[in-house]
Amino acid sequence: MHAWIGFFSSFLASAVEVVEAVTLVLAAGVTRGWRSTWIGVLAATLTLVALVVVFGPGLQTLIPLDALRVVIGTLLLIFGLQWLRKAIMRYTGMKALHDETLIYQREVNELRTAPGTAGTMDWTAFTVAYKGVLLEGLEVIFIVITFGLTAGDMTPALLGAGAAAVLVTAIAFAVRGPMSRVPENTLKFVVGLMLTAFGTFWAGEGVGLNWPGADWAILALLAVYAVVGGLLIVLLRPRVAPGGKVVSQA
């Protein structure tokens, strides 16, 4: 079960982050040219792969599994709650929704006014692409490493991340624009639920809890958090009167 959930969580989390990275890469490529942009993407991808190689198997041999589960479970739990919290805040209007079209336009405007660079390499395009892919990719790497380490196998999580990267990039280049139709917040909510459920399970197991039903407890945790998340969205959503006026925020 771990392998499939590792693949699925990694796929969804990566899809969210790749959508954001692709927006920046497209803006840089369209306005500044593709050569330097692709070099930036490649450099960032290599940096991310190096991080997995260094912190993946290395950590597993250095730290005992129980300690690793506590540390990773705790980090995953905090991280998952952060995603869940942000998604609920966006659903309920406490935080603005992520608008890829707006971000793309803003980035394009900024890049058009940026001064050109002498020589064959456009460092502005390189930096935007490198930073975009690296920063968005770090969250993916974090998830890949944590799922890989606790399951004792990096492959499902790596495959999930790779599949999402290829799929989202292919769609973005097919539509030739920012992917504003992707239900980013829903993906973020689902990934937040999965990370929180896994984090609770692993951290709990690490400190010595006996989970009833062993691994199946993860599904129970997922169900509980999904119900609670849904309830929080309903409770915190602003109430609108028949005239369209917001009357209260629960």
Partner: protein, 72 residues
Amino acid sequence: MKYIVGFFAFWYDFIVGDAWEVAAGVILSLLALYLGIHFLTAGVRDYGAILLPLVIVVLLSYSLWRARGATK
């Protein structure tokens, strides 16, 4: 010095973000569970499986309630 501060600020923002109460609550509750299991009674091993998700739900609700208060 600027780079060291920047390095830690990046990781703080990356992991803790703008909800420090969630991070602090998670760490404290896991620490309490560990101490309960290893120094109080072994029964905590079993009912902790209900207690921990409950604490997580309370933490998330509290954090959102705080955020709503700040955005009002």
